[in-house]
């Protein structure tokens, strides 16, 4: 039954995300694990291809929710007379200041700018 087959892909991916032992086994033996877990040959091919758009396309058929890729976290800017509150630092950044001289990140050797 088509509906059963389609649910199996999302169920398998949820289990991969939720069961570290299964994921570890999958990384070592992708074909074997998918066959054992009942992933259909067509779904297996898509997963093995690594093609994100194809995987998303197959998953979207399984859900009745609207077709969307992500939740966009963005707000309309405040009116200009108010201070901006979105995506702007409230105070000068202090986190990125090194507390001691860097020992790992050697700067790149100086050279002339790339010719354009």
């Amino acid at each position: 039954m088509a509906t059963m087959r389609q649910r199996e892909l999302s169920d398998f991916l949820v289990r991969l995300g939720d069961e570290p032992d299964l994921f570890e086994e999958y990384v070592k033996n992708r074909d074997g694990v998918m066959e054992r877990e009942g992933v259909t040959p067509a779904d297996r091919d898509v997963i093995l291809s690594g093609d994100l758009r194809e995987i998303r396309g197959r998953l979207r058929k399984e859900y009745s929710e609207p077709d969307e890729a992500l939740v966009v976290m963005k707000e309309e800017p405040e009116p200009e007379e108010e201070p901006p509150t979105v995506m702007e630092p409230e105070e000068p950044p202090t986190v990125m200041e090194p507390e001691e001289p860097p020992t790992v990140m050697e700067p790149e050797p100086e050279r002339e700018p790339q010719a354009e």
Binding site: L16, G50, L59, V71, V72, E76, M87, E88
Partner: protein
């Protein structure tokens, strides 16, 4: 005071980037709310906590996003005020490009409740790993694309430039499609700084435990015709090499007094 709030992030790839401390917080809380980006993420969160409430239902076409966020914050804080230990889970890193999480923490603390945000794997973390970019090498500028355009930020062409959400430029609603005209505005801005043949990367991390990231390399001039979605991030490698100031270098080399 009874009642607490813990904000966690799921990471980008469903399940496999969820940290042990975030999982523990989610499992021990008496109330759980979540905002997952994809249906698979929501399904996974519901598997972990079948009693959890999705915040996704607050989104609606045509609804002002600010109002949506206010409602999310209220929904998160209501059980805290009732004395419950609440965990709210957000996609990716809960403190990166997520305003309701920060606002919920702020309001909870202002009301005297214990409130904590736990770090998580962000989309930027995935980008650095999958594109092989080290922000410490040349420096890195990272902007939400609409904010970048609106505020006309100066660009350091010797550092990496990362622009998030280029596919939904100027969109403050619940956008699902890219407006090519707006993308052209961004391209015009970038071509003031970089030559048209300068290579850029269109990147999207996989949100699934499987699948490869999308990383399409294109000359900036070809951006207008590229496939761009709401999840696409634009990465512009440096045009120039930064040169060091010899005076400062000499001063740094002086032995300590």
């Amino acid at each position: 005071m009874p009642g607490s709030l813990t904000i966690v992030g799921t990471g980008i790839r469903v399940g496999v980037q969820f940290t042990p401390e975030a999982r523990a917080a989610l499992l021990r809380a008496d109330r759980v709310l979540h905002l997952g980006a994809e249906p698979l993420m929501r399904q996974w969160l519901s598997t972990l906590r079948p009693d959890a409430t999705s915040l996704h239902s607050f989104y609606a076409p045509g609804k002002e996003r600010r109002e949506t966020y206010r409602e999310m914050v209220s929904a998160i804080l209501a059980p805290v005020r009732e004395g419950h230990d609440v965990c709210a889970a957000f996609y990716g890193h809960p403190g990166v490009f997520v305003s309701p999480s920060h606002e919920a923490i702020r309001q909870a603390r202002a009301a005297g409740y214990e409130a904590t945000m736990l770090p998580a794997v962000s989309a930027e973390d995935c980008l650095f790993a999958e594109l092989g970019i080290d922000p410490g090498r040349t420096g890195c500028q990272s902007y939400e694309a609409t904010n970048f355009l609106l505020t006309n930020r100066p660009v350091d062409a010797a550092a990496v430039l990362i622009l998030w959400q280029v596919g939904v430029l100027g969109e403050w609603g619940h956008a699902r499609k890219t407006d090519r005209r707006r993308l052209g505005l961004l391209l015009d801005r970038l071509l003031e700084i970089y030559p048209a043949e300068h290579e850029a990367i269109l990147y999207e991390a996989s949100p699934y435990p499987v699948g490869d990231a999308i990383a399409v390399r294109t000359p900036l001039g070809g951006l207008a015709g590229a496939v761009v979605t709401a999840a696409t991030t634009l990465v512009v490698p440096p045009r120039d090499r930064a040169s060091s100031d010899p005076t400062v270098r000499d001063r740094l080399r002086r032995p300590p007094a």
